[in-house]
Subunit: 389 residues, 2 copies
């Protein structure tokens, strides 16, 4: 058999679910994981324990892999280039991945290809932030009033799930982000009505598929609920979002899954918030809600296999993240949720419960959005312990 070996760097839940999707495809999976307890390491046969920041470890791991892909975006760019120089296909490649690693590079590139973004600029100190804020005054619909605050500040590298992001109301609050000594990007605080995500998958051949645009609801900077497709979304705007994501994937030469997180503004525009070049939380609904899941299509893409149909199987699919609550053991709640709703699709990541930590998600689907939402929210809340009846 010449069925290939996919080398996955990173042992988190995205790797776990990618392995799950790779099993029916007959794909051999090799994992580089920090510890044997990591989410994916619990379920994969061929696991190497090691540090992805160490080039020798990466090189040893890559031997025998037909392609390398990622659970996260933290592998140093120079290491990816070294693997490529060794002749190992790295997908997405370093030239694409840098746009998901460095928000400054990402903004500059999206500007260059004409993709609408929030107003933004690399800032050097709190005074520069105040200047950036003032620049936004009087710009019409997108502009701020008064002193131009609030402003969003982000470290250009290393942030996720609300970490490395600050919303500052004045110049005094703008000091904190500079303490780490890394470059800081200032962005206008967008007056959005909701957040959307456009998920696409692209192969080296250039084949690409677009999932329906979803609505993504955040709580405290962390994705809470995803509704597929986004309710009441104007068809023209949906098409524009899909085309924008496909265009970004092509222009940046993304291979694999690309999530484009979007703001839908009060005045009817869509602006790019973030990019992720791997299966993404906003695509977890596809595991039970689409003909081909984002994980299966990511595997197919990095192997340059023909892509699967991304269309939905149900009128509505809802995903709600399960966060850790105060109780370390979810098993009895899990049992209760299964009994309450035999149609519920639970996805647990095998992670120890810590308050606020993503330890799983639930998917529900059906024709009645209110019912589908209630079932998913009830299950997630019950598992977390915030709902007790």
């Amino acid at each position: 058999m010449t069925f290939p070996v996919v080398g996955m760097v990173g042992g988190g839940q995205l790797a776990r679910m990618t392995h799950e999707a790779g099993i029916p495809l007959g794909i051999r999976f090799k994992l580089l994981s920090d510890t044997p307890q990591d989410s994916a390491a619990q379920v994969v046969s061929d696991v190497v324990i090691g540090d992805y920041r160490d080039l020798d470890t990466l090189r040893d791991f890559a031997r025998g892999c037909d392609v390398i892909t990622f659970d996260h975006e933290h592998v140093p760019t120079e290491h990816l280039r070294a693997l490529e120089a060794d002749g190992i296909p790295v997908r997405p490649g370093p030239d694409a991945l840098v746009h998901a690693q460095d928000k400054g590079v990402m903004r500059a590139r999206l500007d260059a290809i004409g993709v609408p973004c929030p107003r933004h600029r690399i800032v050097s100190d709190p005074a520069d932030v105040a200047a950036f804020a003032a620049e936004g005054l009087g710009e019409g619909a997108g502009g701020a009033e008064g002193d131009g605050f609030p402003v969003v500040l982000k470290t250009v590298r290393g942030g996720y799930d609300g970490k490395g992001v600050w919303v500052v109301d004045n110049v005094a609050q703008a000091e904190e982000p500079f303490r780490a000594g890394v470059p800081v990007l200032a962005e206008e605080k967008v007056d959005f009505v909701r957040e959307l995500a456009a998920n696409v998958v692209r192969s080296p051949h250039g084949q690409a598929v677009a999932y329906p645009v979803v609505e993504s609801q955040q709580v405290n900077g962390v994705c809470d609920t995803v509704i597929a497709p986004a309710p009441d979304l104007d068809q023209g705007l949906a098409l524009k979002a899909e085309e924008m994501a496909l265009s970004i994937a092509k222009e940046l030469d993304v291979i694999g899954h690309l999530a484009v997180e979007l703001f839908q503004t009060r005045d009817g525009r869509i602006l790019v918030n973030e990019l992720a070049m791997r299966p993404h939380n906003s695509g977890h609904w596809s595991m039970d809600g689409a003909i081909t899941s984002q994980f299966a299509n990511h595997v197919r893409a990095v192997l340059d296999l023909p892509l699967g149909d991304p269309r939905p199987r149900a009128t509505w699919t809802v995903m709600v993240n399960v966060l850790g609550g105060d109780y370390p053991d979810m098993y009895s709640a899990y049992l209760h949720c299964m009994a309450r709703d035999p149609q519920l699709k639970i996805h647990m990541y095998g992670k120890d419960v810590k308050p606020g930590r993503k330890v799983g998600h639930v998917n529900t689907y059906g024709d009645d959005l209110d019912d589908v939402l209630e079932r998913a929210r009830h299950a997630a809340g019950y598992l977390r312990g915030t709902i007790t009846e």
Copy 2:
């Protein structure tokens, strides 16, 4: 976390697919496999290589498992009793499993609980077979004419996929089955219009779910195509088959998945052909065609978790087995099948290709049965190499 550990004895594709179904459930999976190359051993983290016929090996393996279940029915009954005596739940238990291991015990028990079976009797030699054949003469619709042949002979233990089964036309042909020196069961050759299968899952609580009755088409004694639900099946007969399977599960105290293979006779009856107490080929359609797959429900049942909804997600789902053909490498055919049909669901087992060996299956679903059948058959034929365009 008190999420339990399921110990799976046997490393074949059923174990592989059960592990796949267990990942989202957050269930820890431990595998006892003959070799590291076995289908399931390729994809499971916690694998013990050993011989299931050795009690010490089984006992060592069972330590740390919350429950033991099976990929096959070949574990000696006395070993299962020993594990139970050690305090390890074995599901299905030995008293149930013996009915799937020994066709003589199965027939006697089904007779006792009034489940309709083909006419049958344990036979001792070819002359006894001739006597059995003659006994069927003049019995009306089910009876044979002339000398009463053909007759079906089966070794009571060890047969599967047509192995250990003979259809004999005369007394001379009846010698072969006795050569192994094991008990032989004679059965009337049923005049059936088609084969059906009723799949149910039952938990220790006594909760049980029934999948829709499917049509199962065999080629050379091996399952080839399954159509869910069985087309043009009288609703009364479908209900009768589901009730029969639920009743067998209850009477035999089956825990986990039970497949009841049935003959639908020309005169409108259903007779039990075989029982299997594990996920079954006739239930593979459920991976893509049901709200909850047979594998997920088997895991839930053996852990005494509430069962998932077994109802279909599509009007029609078709499964066709992929058998090995003359070409050892299916990868290019696999690529072609994905390109031809982006909705195709391929399930490869990671097995070396040998002519006639089950190496995977494909599922298709949709509203138009002809289309769904054509797509599945084309893909399976192309993978095998019997279709080249």
